[in-house]
Point group: C2
Chain length 222, copies 2
DNA sequence: TAGATTGTTAATCGATTAACAATC
DNA sequence: TAGATTGTTAATCGATTAACAATC
């Protein structure tokens, strides 16, 4: 794994380099961030570990433990300052800055993604939308104009894009994944249900709402 | 938690009732199912724990261990039969049957969901699409026609709907969540970023692609 | 037989939780 | 002061992994 020069690992006063977060801790911190981001939007100033627990279904002791490993962010009897905690967690996850992403597919799903602020809220900026359909190229989608796939490589290079989002039909997904990889993208967010084959240095995250539902349903049924 | 009479817990030959799955096991089994479903589509007949590991990023020993807890599903030197394993896991997760869901919101996102087979592949059938916009009511979306919110309660009762999917703007989400709960829905899949307040017996699952990306990005950066 | 892959053991490691003193 | 909530301990529990015999 490489290290991004723009996001150097934090250094502690004793000069030690912190451990890489475990999968579990990183996943939970991300979920806290989701709730905190929303709480901030709603004008909430402080939040207790119990409230965070209600929304994330993570045990409140676990939450305090996760956080206290990085510093004393809370105030006894009061809770955590929402805004301060957001920036602390962003620092821990090294995602405090802006990240540029490209979106492939200007159909219903692509337009829904481009039109929402779900990525923007977390520092992801959609810098370009691509579609293979000549009829769509040049038409506006939100603040962007749909571009031709031929521009992909230059956009990825110029805008320093690390993440590509695939909102295309299953039949087109693997081919476009290959194009994204060739253009230099390192993380692919796949909204189709295809199993993408990519080189080991590339991470694929496949959205699977139905699988999430199966999981929720199991705990409802038992 | 209640038990669904249509999905009784499996009984073992010794008469004991199996333990409820731990969160981790249920989550992993769901992910195996996602890959297996897709592998089946691609015509794959057998799959090894190593191949499953490549796609799910779960250690192959862990996978064999998870599966062997429920029976000897594999064949040494060969792997697992894809189709047989799909039905075994569905049985374990008690989601072997069909489940009816309702979809709220006939915008870009709602249409993208209704038009994909991502839910159908896992036994979820969209039995109705609702929208509050009078202009959209009566228009076709895939095989369905958009219905008025007033029909919600009767549809939920008649079709025995347990899951409601919210593909609506943030501003409308809480109000419609209340309606879904009042109509008798027990699991809400929330595509907006709002923190929904629901009674404790109702489960909310919020889709958060940006948070998933943050998580992937962390492991890319470190 | 030779190669591949499962099922299972044994040992370790990290996650989880209840409880409570500290303190706002 | 009284109430609330954090930070931390100590004990338990489950997850993870390497290794390998069993066996297809």
């Amino acid at each position: 794994m490489s290290t991004d020069p723009l996001n150097p690992p934090p250094t502690f006063t004793d000069g030690s380099t912190p451990e890489r977060l475990s999968l579990g801790v990183a996943a939970r911190l991300s979920r806290y961030l989701q709730v905190l981001t929303q709480a901030k939007k709603m004008g909430k100033e402080t939040i207790s570990s119990q409230e965070l627990s209600d929304y994330t279904h993570v045990n409140s002791t676990q939450i305090r433990r996760d956080l206290s490993g990085f510093g004393k962010f809370g105030k006894r009897g009061v809770g955590y300052n929402v805004e301060a905690l957001v920036s602390q967690i962003r620092k821990i996850l090294r995602t405090a800055g802006q990240n540029n992403i490209v979106l492939f597919g200007a159909g219903h799903l692509g337009r829904a993604i481009a039109g929402s602020d779900i990525f923007a809220d977390h520092g992801f900026r959609v810098v370009a939308i691509f579609d293979s359909d000549p009829e769509k190229i040049g038409t506006p989608v939100g603040p962007q104009t749909v571009r031709a796939p031929a521009d992909l490589t230059s956009v990825v290079e110029e805008e320093d894009v690390v993440v590509g989002v695939l909102a295309v039909p299953s039949s087109a997904a693997q081919g476009l994944a290959d194009d994204l990889v060739a253009a230099g993208v390192r993380i692919i967010f796949n909204y189709s249900d295809v199993l993408l084959d990519v080189p080991p240095e590339v991470t694929v995250h496949t959205s699977s709402p139905a699988v999430d539902l199966l999981y929720a349903l199991y705990f409802y049924l038992t």
